[in-house]
Structures are given as structure tokens and as C-alpha cells.
Amino acid sequence: MKDDQQQAAAVPGMRVMEKRVTVSRRAFLKGSGLAAAGVTALSAGSLMLPARDALAAEFTHLGADIGKTLLVMARDIFPHDKISDRFYMLAIEPYDAAAAKDPALATLISDGVAQLNALAQANFKAPYAEVPTETERLTLLYTIEHGAFFQKIKGDMVTGFYNNKAVWPLFGEEGSSWEKGGYIARGFDDIDWLPKA
């Protein structure tokens, strides 16, 4: 069986999604229904930092260290190697503004991150976000996975990440179709790789 790319090239019959980002950053932010209103363009100072640290620096309330920990944790919870940090950032960014208004949430997150970092220091002599391999970080997450902090982050990621319209094209999800006339003329029946009956 041919892989996707070959198939898309070889068989023009089936309308196949390329699973890459095709929207501009502006549309990307606009299209992301769950992103916090607080998602802003990166500040000038942050351009001096590595990309991940620059994203984490946007956590003005909880702070960059917590931002970076959550970002790495979000990736480890639902790892998609070809999807960049900024999409994960959209899922966790709302915590910063929410924690500013909700002391219980702020405590849950800061205590949770502190506990995770303490575990990481004890086992790997580095904070969680700096533990070099996914395999090592997972051993830490397995330790905390039944706790309230992990459950909260993981539970929110299911919608915060996968229900973000900006990531849908990366999975071949085309989203709302009624305004395009549905699929009646756009490939509802164009499958072409099935063996002939």
C-alpha cells in the first residue's frame, strides 16, 4: 500500500489533505476559538530568547518557569513530533490569565509544578523541563498521573489542544462544511484505494 504522499501524487482522484499548516499567523490566532484573549504577538525582548523560552515568557502571571514546565508537559501528554510548540502554547496559555483570577487554580498549578520539579531534581538532577529525554520525563509523569494537577492539565488538553481549529488541518480534519455546501461535490465518495469487489 502506498503512503499518503505517493498516493496523493499518483492518484489525483481522491481529495487528500496535506496535513500541514496553511493559515497565516493572523488567521491562526483568529481561528483558535479556545485561545485566551491574552495571546499576543511576541514582545521585542523575547526575540532574544530561544523559541520555547520566548513562548514561556508570555506567562506573565505564573512566570516563565511554570510556563515552560506546562509547555513541556503538554507535549509529553499528547506528543505530536511534527506539531510546533506554539500550538501546544495555545492550549496552556489560558491558564496564565485564569490563574490571575482564580487563586485555587494558581495554587494547584504552582504546587503541581513545584512537586514535579522536585521529583525531577531528585531523580535526574534537573527541573522537569530540562530533563533531556521523553522516556525519563514520562517516569516522572507516571508518578503524578493520578493527582489533581496532572488530571487537570491532561483533561483540559483534550479540548484545549484537539478542539483548537488551528490544529485540525494537521490531522486532516476539515471542520465546518455546511457553508461550503457539504461534501456532495467535494469528495464524500472519492475513496480510491479499496480493492475491487
Binding site: 498516493q7 501528554i77 484537539y162 485540525w168 490531522f171 486532516g172 465546518s176 455546511w178 479499496l194
Partner: protein, 524 residues
Amino acid sequence: MSKTFSKDDNSVVVIIGSGAGGGTLADELTRQGVDVVILEAGKHHTQEDFENDEWAMFAKISWLDKRISAGGWHHTETYPNLPAWIVKGVGGSTMHWSGLALRFMAHEFKTRTTYGHVPGANVLDWPISYEELAPYYEIAERKMGVAGTKASGLPPMPPNNHYKVIEAGARKIGYKDIVRPVASNTRPNDGRPACQQIGYCMQGCKIGAKWSTLYSEIPRAMKTGHAELRPQSMVLRIEHDRSGKATGVLYADKDGNQHLQKARVVCVAGNSIESPRLLLNSASSMFPNGLANSSGQVGRNYMNHTTAAALTINPGPVYMYRGFDIAAVVSDEVPNNPDRGFLGGYHLEGLALHLPFAAAFMKPGGWGREVSSALEKFDHMSCVWVCGEDLAQEENSITLHPTEKDQHGLPIPIVTKTDHTNDVAMRRHGLAQWRKLSEAVGATRVIDMPPYPASHNMGTNRMSEKARDGVVNKWGQTHDIKNLFVSDGSQFTSSGAANPTLTIVALAIRQAEYIAGAMRRREL
């Protein structure tokens, strides 16, 4: 046009609920000149409110008032406060239903006779036969516009990618009975347009091609001048007089103000959780165990089908969401064949999910590469929902919470469900067959999923020949109270392996004929 009835008008039939049962009943009664007041707990949405967005529509139309999952089923962990996935709104769950309009098989009306005594279950024959219901199935298929049926005359739904991949696998492993009777227009019909293969059918059909009482039966009933619809009207209790006859219903409007609507006949169609809950909440000194409950069976025998689901990663792209949500339906496993190790049968129903629901339901609570690596192949996925017979068990039930109350001060419902060993064997068989079917077209991975929150809820006010075995007779009339009827899926004596909506509609058509006749004869 739309009419207003006085709350003191005791000549009206009050219908509680406006979904498949209540909406159909309103249409059928008003066309026979009977005056009805429809009390609907939810809001009156229109197609303007429908979005092609799974979570947005879930939040907008679902019945989200607190309920508790109890018993031995998976939902106590996965969906502790969402045992059932049904709708609160005008049109009820016909907004959300998949559109799959399957008939029961003859033996499914005669389960006690066919299966014999089943230890641990409370199996009973219906007091009606398939032959008695068949003419009403015909009318229902015509009313609803079930594609590919003789009754509707509508052409079959054209196969989409998801249909084709499932059909190919099914044929390869020897299945022959592959069907797709869906109540969605394949050409303009009954004032509604033809299906445009939009998908998102379960989020409310944006163009109204899929049948729903929201835009079919309810407006038609209103046009007769014999119906009044009161949305956001939550019925709190059914009142009765000293002779034990129902006299009216007490309900709360959207502001919480209480009203008493008098009635000549009361029909309960609030789905299998709210309907028994209302009867139990209507307990009085004369009926201390709840209305119509001399048998003790109100709220018992809760059935929600033996279900399971699985996602398959196919060798090529499918885009299962393109087109009508129901794909191929395999019916070969529906006949009763105890050699398989269980009684009754099941359908394998192709049912599309979009990415957000695939992520949420695939492995609730799951995380890591096990989940994410599968979702990266979302575009290659096909999806099955196993829908099989669920044997009635008395302890599977709707009961009232001893202390916790809802916003109206009513005890919240506890939904208790434990699998019978028959369910476990059937689920295992269904998932194994789906795996074979998938592998026959080259699937590289099949991910079994736990059952979704139940959209099919049945049996909690069941029909019975004898008053001691159930709540209602063969007309859906309660054994205890002559002018009190049950008009929804809670009447079901068995669950069958068929999605319940078509049978609910057929029963409501038949019940309307009975009620209108009995009113003319002054028996009611």
C-alpha cells in the same frame, strides 16, 4: 395557527416532552382534531443555532442537569455525571439522533418466549407483536422519509467513503446483510431539502434534511390550530384526584414560576430517565411509591443497549466525516444465534466522529503516544458503534437521590447499570468481528473504545400484558391510571438491537390512534 390554551382548560391532552415520542404524538393527535399542550423542559432552538462543531453543540443542546452514574458499568469512572447523552430542547433527541431508522426483528418482541428464562435477567415478551406494529413502521418510515425504504419511496443514501470501506471489509469476511435505512432526504421531501453530505448530523442537521420533530412534527402540529408549545417548562409532578385519575401537571417556567396545567389526558415522553423520575417524583398519599407504580417496575429494567465502539486505522485515507454520519450498517449478527455464546444480536454501525470527539472518546483518561500516534492517523480512520440487545435487569434502574436536589428542588436521578454476562460476551464478539472486518481491508491498528454515554435509553416504564410485570399496557397506557400514558422509549419491554427512534415513532402513531379513538368514545 399557534393556539393558546387556558391553564384551567381540562379538555386538553398534555404531552410532556417534544422528541420522537412527544413530537410525533402531538402531530398525530392534532391531525385528528385533538387539542394538545406540549410542555418541553428545554429551549426552542432553530437551525440558525446549529453549528458544525461537536463541542459547541454538545454544550448547547445536551441535557446537562446533574445525574449520577452508579453500578458496575464503566461510566462510573469515565462519565460519572453524564450517564446518558441526550438532548434538552424542542425536538428532544431527534436533534442529536444519528438518523438510523432500523426496525425491530420479530423475535425481539418475544424475548421471553425465544430466550426462555435467563438467570439474572428480567426478560419479558412485549404485549404486541411485530405483525401488529408493522403497519405503523410503514407510516413512520413514510413520515420520517427513511431513505431506501418502499414506504418513503426515497432513493437510498449514496455511499460515502466511510460506507465503502466498511462495506468492503464486511463483504470480504462474508457478511451479506449490509443496510443503511436513514431518515434523511435523498431528494427534497416534506418541505425539507435533500442531504448535501455535510456531516455533523448529530450536532443538529444544519439544513433540515435529516428528520427531526423540531422542524417536522412540531410546526405541523402548531399549524392545525390544535397545539400550544411551551418551551422551558419543566414538569415537576403529575396531579391526580381522589379517584386516582390524572388531573393536570405542575410545571416550572424559565423563571422558576410554577403553573398548574389541567388535563384530560397526560402523556409522558421525557426519555427513559426523566419519565420514570417524574412518575416517582409524583408520589402522593394515595400512590406512595410513585404514580403507575403498583408493579414496582417504574424506573426498573433500564436498558441502554449493549454497546462498544472502535476506531480503525486504515491503510489509506477515508475522511469518515465526509457525508452522512451513519455509514454501512452490518445486520448479519442481529438474528438470535445462541451458538455465539450470547442471546440476542447486534448491529455493527459505522458512525463517524470528528477529531475532537475521537480524541475525547478513544481512550477517556488516556494520554501519551498510545493516544497521539493513533490520532495522527485520524484521516485514515473508520469508526464502528456496536449496538446490541441489552437484557432487562430489575436492578438496572433510575432512582431518586436521597438528599441531592436539582435547581427545581427535585431529587436528582441516579442511573444504575451493571452488565449482564450476556452483554460482556456480546460486546467481545462485536469488537472481534469488527477487527476481522477492518483487517480484511488492510487495517494496521484497531483501537477498542469504551461505550459512549448512552443515547439509547429504554425500558424504565415497560409494557406488559399483566399489570404486575410492567407499567403500561400495549397502548402505552399505564395499568394503574387510565388517562396517564407513556409515549417514549421507556415503554420498551426489550431493547432489541435496533436504534430505538423508529420504534418510538411507530408506537406514538399507534398510541395517538388509540387515544383519539378512546376520547371520541368518551372512554377517556
